[in-house]
Assembly symmetry: C2
Homo-oligomer: 496 residues x 2
């Protein structure tokens, strides 16, 4: 290391940042899963202080110097990839002034906290008061990033979640989806019209739901020595790779919501829990982009958990936890889990209508950030697009409309496209897996997930940030992102 | 504030420290109450990084300059008291080099983590391997503080928990206690020998115990909007004043352990929850010394909760949570809660034998820190002192002997005396309260805790660190610490 003093100094700085990030992750999880309401103000101040500290660390002028020095040092391939990720992180952080980072954290926390009561109260006016400031700061943030990168404001924000993917790419892909999605939804609905589906009869005691979720997490390989499952209003996967914190929420009359959510978060968790330990603490050790992360949660929730083979394994588990009932027959359960019904809530959407929710949000937030619309304009646009895309009326229903997601309240504009990119990647992974393991579905049906976990482990989890996204996709699946796999998957599952 | 730039700069620095301390408290609570085992290593590194950061902040050379400047600025009484506490904090922090602070955190976390499995396994040898390093670093710490203050090593460590109280004072007080305690224990045991006490018949379902604890916390005024109750191996009161985190632990065959522990922690919690909001973030807003803190937990657990009046209120609550049984009759319950039995475990000790546990620890840790003995010598000394003080044999039983407390594993030497000082203060508060409110006990028996809470609120909670301990005691009770109140209390409760 003595021949690479610049790189060594960078590694030390990033180790320190990793530890600060650990603190931020744990107190952030706590705020969402544990904190009582009166803790909010002091917590927001403490988190803002920590964010400011991390920002100062990432904008320390010595980093620029070390980055320059390291460029000419003798580094191996891994070190060079790590340096590339350091440079990406540095570029992102140094485009923003500290006062903006702090103001954004405070405004996001304030908006998000009030949103927890405003959403159930359908209080759009009250929400708007805080939200305007979140939008103002997000635009300012986008402008800073844009000035630095030469991208548009929205491209610059999205680049942080999906490096290298541009709004024009997403627009092109989503235009492609628009060509066939409405017709597919109609055909699936026609096919399902005469299907008999028996609804599970509740109530489903919360303790049994929790036990079922834990059993399924275990089945899916979640390591409970390195993580936990708790409850929060908006479920998420938090914590750190060494200690992954999943959350879910329970409704006594519906166990599927929490079960499928938990399976989704378990996909995120397995990625984190299987990142190479030797790289942890360095930027190369971080999970690749949000879209790739979402491809893991959707590989679990959509590709695996709604497959006929997995449903056959799930059926007896349901009977064991809630008592036997006709709805738990595997065929019925499969129909239940693949029922396509346009609905208001994104997180409850089936995988066929889900892209419509994302397309709507992408169009609105892109216009909002680029300044083509204002926050006040969102409800009317939302109503119009929900009508056009899914034929649903959301007029005056803010809580199940534009107030339903936590992303905007936190100012995380540019994230939504990752969900649908993730769904497309996931379909591409399973297509590649089936080429490599022709009897994949039979083995899943027999309870043998080893081929799936091994493929994901070798091609995705163990790669962390070793490659940029396009290279990761090519190495894993032998081709660039190809939305055709997603379409083929939907047609095979919903029309055959 | 423009006429006091030094003081204003200090206030800003201490606000920042308060926010860092918030992060430290929450992740510390998490480590004890929530964290799965594989999170330990990364957590220890993150906490050490944060401790180092706080240490750097407290040793920033500008603080010394601002302290000097502020000394000559026009400050009011409150600001001057705040400045006095800043100076105390600064002096303590600046005596220690950063590498020692970091090493101590790491060694303490390592020792404490291993202790969780070593204690149940009675593995003194294994424990000793980590513990030697904890002792070595605590001595080094004591030496630094001693060099700075001119105190002895142990005095210097103890001063951080009980400012102004010296080992010689404690020795004198404890020598006084030794004069009458053994005889008192013997007389109480003789008196109780023929008492019939019906033991509660378990099991007591954990969910009912938890519900009972929550009900009693509510009765005692705990604010659940600003705090929570969870579980941990070693119960504690953590979090921050705005968000107090209590923990307890449950045993299905014994609800009293958890109930009385929860009442104890609720006493700590009410102090924190009622610190003046306007001072929070500044050193003056911190709860006065550990002994004063302990006087609150013991006011709740000992003075109040074992009084005949309170037991009369508790009896129907027990029946409501566990079903009626003869043991829950108030008279029987009262005998149960005031039963005096020398035992091995400090946290289970009754209030009459408790001082013996503290005297033993004080003598051992003082000798250990001053270098008169080594860690290896502890078990033999423990055996000898337990035999002399309480007539109990601990030979070879490390887990219920010298390995029972978390204090030493963490390197918190000098803390133990605070427990018995706290018991003495608590007796003094109640003597003062009864002078001020002659029908105090009748009002408690009627479920009216207002006089008690108002007295503690006005005299202790609202004072935070406004006064140094001796002045606080004098203002609250009209006299200096007077152990006679403790003796009178024990004789009245246990011999009348």
């Amino acid at each position: 290391m003595s021949s690479a003093p610049g790189y060594a100094a960078l590694c030390r700085a990033y180790t320190r940042l990793y530890r600060y990030q650990h603190l931020a992750s744990i107190v952030g999880w706590d705020r969402n899963a544990m904190m009582p309401p009166k803790g909010n103000e002091a917590r927001a101040a403490a988190e803002a202080e920590l964010n400011a500290l991390m920002h100062r660390t990432r904008t320390d002028p010595r980093l620029a110097e070390w980055l320059r020095t390291a460029e000419n040092e003798p580094l191996d391939d891994i070190e060079r990839a790590n340096l590339r990720e350091m440079r990406r992180d540095w570029r992102e952080a140094n485009a923003l002034p500290e006062r903006l980072v702090e103001a954004k954290t405070l405004a996001g926390a304030k908006c998000e906290h009030a949103w927890r009561t405003q959403r159930p109260a359908n209080d759009w006016r009250g929400f708007l008061e805080n939200f305007r400031e979140v939008v103002r700061l997000a635009r300012e943030e986008g402008q800073f990033l844009a000035d630095d990168s030469g991208l548009s404001r929205y491209d610059a924000l999205m680049d942080r979640y999906e490096p290298g993917v541009r709004a024009a790419d997403v627009e092109r892909i989503f235009e492609g989806v628009r060509q066939w999605l409405p017709a597919l939804i109609a055909r699936v609905q026609a096919k399902q019209r005469d299907e008999k589906v028996i609804a599970p009869a509740g109530p489903f005691p919360l303790a049994s739901q929790r036990a079922l979720n834990l059993a399924v997490m275990k089945l899916l390989g979640f390591d409970f020595e390195g993580g936990r499952l708790d409850e929060s209003v908006h479920p998420f996967s938090g914590g750190v790779p060494e200690d992954v914190r999943l959350t879910t929420r329970y409704h006594e009359d519906d166990f599927l919501h929490s079960l499928m959510g938990t399976i989704h978060e378990t996909g995120h968790a397995r990625f984190e829990q299987n990142l190479p330990r030797v790289w942890l603490g360095q930027p190369i050790g971080v999970a690749r982009s949000y879209g790739i992360h979402e491809s893991q949660s959707l590989s679990f929730e959509m590709q695996l958990a709604r497959s006929r083979g997995f449903v056959g394994l799930l059926a007896p588990l349901l009977a064991a936890h809630f008592g036997a009932q006709p709805a738990f027959a595997a065929d019925n359960l499969q129909r239940l889990l693949t029922r396509v019904r346009p609905g208001l809530i994104r997180v409850n959407a089936d995988e066929v209508t889900y892209p419509a929710h994302v397309i709507l949000r992408f169009e609105i937030e892109r216009a909002l950030i680029e300044g083509a619309i204002e926050a006040e304009d969102i409800p009317a646009l939302w109503d119009e697009k929900m009508q056009n895309l899914l034929g649903l009326d959301t007029h005056g229903n803010y809580k199940d409309g534009c107030m339903q997601d936590a992303h905007w309240t936190d100012g995380a504009f540019g994230y939504f496209p990752s969900y649908t990119l993730g769904a497309m990647y996931a379909a591409q992974w399973f297509a590649a897996m089936r080429r490599a393991v022709p009897d994949l579905d039979a083995r899943i049906a027999a309870g043998d997930f080893a081929p799936m976990f091994e493929w994901l482990g070798a091609n995705i989890w163990s790669q962390a940030s070793r490659w940029e996204t396009p290279e990761l996709v090519r190495r894993a699946s032998g081709e660039a992102l190809n939305p055709a796999h997603f379409r083929v998957h939907l047609e095979a599952r919903y029309l055959d």
